[in-house]
Subunit: 136 residues, 2 copies
């Protein structure tokens, strides 16, 4: 499996009570576009994965960090703009630097501390045959 | 990859404001024990995976459904008892019967409709080489 770190982006996220926007105008889609802009500008080594609904509808905009063999994290409460995209890209660089997806608490940006929705342990390796431990 | 369906169980889940229980007395650990009892009684073909914190601390008890190639779902608000465990086992049987983890809305039990915390698309296959489409 490649060692790429991914940002999942809910492109259907929208604020409750707002009139229904066209799909491309939804806050989630706008955050996805902002992330694409910042990734392109930085040449960041990360995959952006658009997802139709991460089922966190009460905390738009919602994203996730995922990579093979790492904990997956889901975060909410992001604004649909480039400033939020910059924060997310800074944070995924910290995630990418960990072996297991666990960013030490003291290094964790406030947006991740406050915005955490859920996390999941690395699942894929659990289903494979036993692999030798990394030398660390 | 085996085609097993898993229930992730947050064994550290506890109610806010309660005195700190011994680990085995935490609501999450009690739900895990109740699930083990019901799985054994039914001979249910499901893996129980104990997880130390799914980071959904405001909605105990929290669980997840996961299987290779399927959407992963995270649910909260379960009581730590065998009645909840029965509900969860009934629901995971519906999940197991789907090819993609998406239980049709009309079939979805109320506990899953109200308790959903988040969902994630199937990630592992996305990182593999292109596989031929199933004939369907």
């Amino acid at each position: 499996m490649p060692d790429r770190n991914s940002i999942l982006v809910c492109v259907t996220c929208r604020a409750a009570g707002e009139p229904l926007e066209a799909p491309a105008e939804r806050p989630g889609a706008r955050l996805y576009q902002a992330l694409m802009n910042v990734v392109a500008r930085r040449g960041a080594p990360v995959d952006l994965i658009a997802v139709e609904c991460l089922s966190v509808c009460k905390r738009p905009c919602t994203i996730g960090f995922s990579a093979p063999g790492k904990w997956t994290y889901i975060y909410g409460d992001f604004a649909p703009n480039e400033r939020a995209a910059e924060t997310i890209l800074d944070a995924v660089a910290l995630y990418a630097a960990t072996p297991d997806g666990l960013i030490p608490w003291k290094q964790r940006p406030d947006a991740l501390k406050k915005g955490v929705v859920a996390r999941l342990p690395p699942l894929a390796p659990r289903n494979d045959v036993d692999l030798p431990e990394a030398a660390e």
